[in-house]
Structure formats: C-alpha cells, structure tokens
C-alpha cells in the first residue's frame, strides 16, 4: 500500500528532542513496509539502550504512521543489531554534530 520511502517520509516528522534531528536522518529507522491491507511494520533502533524516552519515541513513530490514510495496524520492532553509530546518520546530521 505504501512504499518504504513514503513510510520513511511520514516517520521523518518524529524528532528526537535531545539532539534535535528527525529519526530518519539520524539513521534510526532501519526498515519499513506496509501490506495491501494497511498493516505496517517498522524496524528501528535507538542511539542508546538506556534512552529514557524509548517508549515515547516508539509511540511517536507508531502515531506518525497511523496518521497515514487507510493504515490499520502498525507494528514497531525495536532491534539492537546492528548497533547504531553516527556513520548511519545522513551527512547533514554528521556535519551538524561536528563529526562530518
């Protein structure tokens, strides 16, 4: 129903309030898919396991996808492999953080 790019675009509205970048440009969203019935599946990680906002961030991602038309259900899969590092972020983020 929706392509990976369309789902990523919807999720790019979710911003990490600590660093100020959206989750997609941070490279935290690994994959996203949606079947013809409107069931979406997002595979994501977080920059640290100890993130106190981990529940909130997953909820925001879920809500961002749920806002898309005809989406029935959203499943968030939080994974720790591969472990996130800054090389997964896009160039803008790297540059803004001072590492690029």
């Amino acid at each position: 129903m929706y392509s990976k790019e369309e789902l990523f675009l919807a999720i790019s509205n979710v911003i990490d309030p600590e660093v100020g970048f959206n989750l997609v440009e941070m490279g935290l969203i690994y994959d996203a898919s949606c079947d013809e019935d409107g069931n979406a599946h997002v595979t994501m990680t977080l920059s640290t396991k100890a993130c106190p906002m981990h529940q909130l961030i997953q909820q925001w991602v879920k809500e961002a996808v749920e806002k898309m038309a005809n989406i029935k259900e959203v499943e968030i899969e939080l994974v720790w492999e591969p472990e996130w590092n800054v090389t997964m972020a896009n160039d803008n983020v790297k540059k803004a953080l001072g590492g690029g």
Binding site: P17, G20, P52, L56, A64, N85, L97
Partner: protein
C-alpha cells in the same frame, strides 16, 4: 496505542524538591565559605566537618538521590520498587543535614539526632534501590556498580552514626579511626563508584559515543572496592601499610576511570561543547589536579595539599559533575511531563532550549574561577583569597539556583 508508563520518568513533583533544595544548599555552602579563616582549615576542624556535611549531604547527596529516582530505572531497565518512597527522602535528608551542620558548629548534642534522621533517609533510599535491583534478572556492570556503591553507602552511614554518637559523648569510640572508614565508604565507595557506573551510561548517551571498551569500568570499580575495603580494615587492624595501599589503589582507580572517560570522549559523535560538556571538562580536570596533589601529599605529608585535593574532588569533580548533569536531567523531566503530550499537536521546545544560556554560563564561569581560587587559597593558607573564591562561588551558585528555577518553570 500503547501506553507510556512513568517507570522511566517519575512524576516531576516527586523529584523537583531534590533539585530545588539541593541547589539552595549549594548556595548555603558558598555562603559558609566566608566564615572560614586559616585557623579553621584543618582536617578535623568542626567548621570543616560542618561545611563538608552541608555540601555533601545537602547538595551532592540530595542531587544524586533526586537524579537516581529517574536514572535507576533507566540503568536497571526495570521500574522502581516504590518510587513514592522518594517523597519521604528529601525532607528527612534536608532536616538531618541542617541538624548535623548545626551540631558540628555549635551543638554536638544535636549530632546523633541529625545522624539518625540522615540514617533513616539513606536507609529508605538504599533499601528502595536494593529492592529495585532485586527485580533485575541479570546484572550488567553498570547495575553491579549501583549494587556495590549502595552497599558501601549502607555501611558508610552506619559508621557515620557511630561517629556522631561518639562526638556527642553518648558512646566512646576512636573517632579518627572510624572517620577514615566513613569518608572512604561514602565518598569513594558510594559517590565515586556511582559516578563511575553512571558515566558508562550517561556520557555515551549524551555524547553519542560508540565503540569504546567497557573493561576499564570493571577494573576501576574493582580497584576502588578493594581500596575502600582496605581502608575499612585499617580502622580495625593497626597495620599502616593497609592504609597506604588503600590510598594508592584509590588513586589508581581514579586514573583508570579517567582513561575510560577519555576513551568515551574520543569516540563521541556529538562535538558541541555546551555547558554540560564544559562542566565535565572542569570536573575531570579538577580530578586530575587533585590526584597530583594527593600523590605529592603521600610523599610530603603537607596537609594543605590534602585539603586542597579534597576541595577539588568535592567542589570540582563532584560539584561540576552534578551541576552539569542537572542541566540534562531537569530539562528532560520537565519536558517529559509538560511537553511530551503535545508532540505532534503543536511545536514543542528541544531540551537544549530549556537551559538558560546566560545564567548557566555565569554559573560555570564564576564557580570554576571560585573553585580554582579557593584551591590556591588552601595551598597558600591565605584568608583573603578564600573570601575572593567564596565571592565567585556565591555568584556562581546563585546563578545555578536561578538556572534550576528557570528550567523547572519553563513553559
């Protein structure tokens, strides 16, 4: 929609009194410095003991306990056993601190009362932490650090109460011997090991560091634990080498810890130097200078070196590590409570927007200058310099108090 529990962010009204009261005690500590003169600057002077308890219990412990209400579930990855117990901790710790400060200054009879109130506050804290740790299925090295540090705190406060009873004349004990154990159990056993463990979580989290070895934490913690145990044993066994070995191991442990911090710093992706990073720079620089002073003291026995090293550890390392982290923890808690429900509905601030730039910078600069001046004043035994340093610290601490209120009331 799945519900977001408050396991990882307890209600702010529960934690805010810790930070408000803690920052007030920071101001009082700076004010207290004006009363010092060269004659008072000695290890066992009652004014020094009063000041140390005001700063360590009122500011450092109060802030650590408030921070732990939020950080323990984050680190242990389980909810608190009974987070409501924290409502009882801050009033008890506040009252106990005041009683102990007055007790040391002018009324030794108050010391056991103050000691008991502090003991109750800390026992509630320690037991709550132990019962929360009990929920953890498998301990990692950070979780172990919480367990070890709280065990040392448990014994440290018992030693403290025995000393308070001795000071008041209720029982007869060798205070100077027990004091060494009390100091090491609380300062190095609890505060330093807590700092080490939390560093492994907080420094990479805020700096976005990855790919560093965690081994130095285990080594630093093990060495520090042995050091504390040796010092406690030396209180009961008359064998001078035990003490010296304990001191030496504490220095080695802090050096290994510094290596860990440096490797986390080197691998960080986030290069901006905000007030948090600057505070940590100053904290660790103070630690290094303090270690150098401590090493020279071991060879020279020149007491001002030891006092200056202690000052740098307290106001430099602990003070700046705490103030720096408060600039991260308080905005998060306020943001979580006030703004997280508005995400997606209206524009919300970033966490960094909630830190007042001017007063946080003023706090950093004035406090850093004040700490350096007082460290020199202690070395030179100079009254005027102490007052000068105290002036800087008073302005800095007031700026800090203002920053805390600003962050708490951010709308």
């Amino acid at each position: 929609m799945f519900s977001v529990s408050q396991d990882f962010a307890p209600p702010f009204k529960l934690i805010s009194p810790f930070f408000i009261l803690g920052s007030l005690f920071y101001v009082f500590s700076a004010m207290f410095l004006f009363s010092f003169s060269v004659e008072n600057i000695a290890l066992l002077d009652t004014k020094v003991l009063s000041f140390v308890h005001l700063f360590l219990l009122g500011f450092i412990m109060m802030s650590i306990f408030g921070s732990m209400a939020q950080l323990v579930p984050v680190v242990l990855e389980v909810g608190h056993f009974g987070v409501e117990l924290f409502y009882a901790i801050w009033p008890l710790l506040g009252i106990g601190t005041v009683l102990m400060v007055i007790g040391f200054l002018s009324s030794p009879a108050l010391l056991p009362y103050g000691g008991v109130v502090v003991l109750i506050a800390m026992m509630i804290f320690v037991m709550e932490i132990f019962l929360t740790i009990k929920k953890v299925k498998k301990l990692n090295n950070v979780m172990s650090s919480i367990l070890i540090s709280n065990t040392f705190l448990f014994f440290g406060i018992i030693f403290g109460l025995v000393i308070a009873l001795g000071y008041a004349g209720t029982i007869e004990v060798d205070i100077s011997n027990l004091l060494k154990s009390h100091v090491f159990l609380v300062i190095f056993g609890y505060i330093a090991i807590t700092l080490m463990g939390l560093s492994l979580v907080l420094l990479p989290m805020f700096g976005l560091s990855h790919g560093f070895s965690k081994k130095p934490l285990e080594i630093a913690m093990t060495i520090m634990s042995i050091s504390v145990i040796l010092i406690v044993l030396s209180s009961f066994i008359d064998f001078v080498i035990l003490s010296y070995l304990g001191y030496l191991l504490a220095i080695v442990s802090l050096c290994v810890y510094f290596y860990l911090v440096q490797s986390i710093y080197k691998t960080r992706a986030r290069k901006e130097n905000d007030v948090y990073v600057m505070s940590l720079f100053f904290a660790y620089a103070s630690m290094i200078v303090s270690l150098i002073f401590a090493i020279i003291y071991l060879f020279t026995n020149f007491e001002p070196l030891l006092l200056s090293a202690g000052w740098l550890i307290f106001f430099g390392l602990f003070g700046f590590a705490v103030t720096g982290h408060i600039y991260k923890i308080v905005p998060f808690l306020v943001w979580f409570e006030r703004f997280s429900p508005l995400v997606g509905k209206q524009k919300v601030p970033m966490l960094a927007d909630m830190v007042p730039p001017k007063s946080s910078q003023a706090q950093f600069i004035f406090c850093a200058v004040g700490v350096v001046i007082v460290a020199i004043a202690i070395l030179l035994q100079n009254d005027t310099l102490i007052k000068a340093g105290a002036s800087f610290l008073l302005v800095g601490s007031l700026a800090f108090f203002r920053s805390v209120l600003y962050m708490i009331n951010y709308k």
